[in-house]
Symmetry: C2
Subunit: 68 residues, 2 copies
């Protein structure tokens, strides 16, 4: 699903691994979400949105994304 994770992460000067640590998942999980390999669980979506201080719907673009 399309999302703003990569831009926001880079704005904060974080690596994928660092962001993974912050939200409690592996760097591969962050990579997969940034590269649209799989959709996050609802809890990971929540944790990322919380970290970036926005809503899940703002961080993840449901309307412009294809359902997998």
């Amino acid at each position: 699903m399309k999302n703003k994770v990569k831009e926001l992460r880079e704005q904060q000067g974080l690596t994928q691994a660092q962001l993974g640590e912050k939200v409690g998942v592996s760097r591969q999980a962050i990579n997969a979400i940034e590269k649209n390999k799989f959709d996050p669980s609802i809890w990971l979506a929540y944790d990322l949105a919380l970290f970036f201080n926005m809503s899940i719907e703002e961080l993840f673009d449901f309307k412009e994304s294809e359902r997998k």
Copy 2:
């Protein structure tokens, strides 16, 4: 995870099966979410929030719920 699905569904006069049809899952999936047996996928959370015309964060109470 705690949520408002049951109240909102009943307010609309729908059965679990009918709500399941509307959002494209089985009635057991709706039941499981209402009874807090498992957490929805991010897409199901989105579809339910859309159906009830609110945000995911309004429909699902992350802050008061235990992570499973």
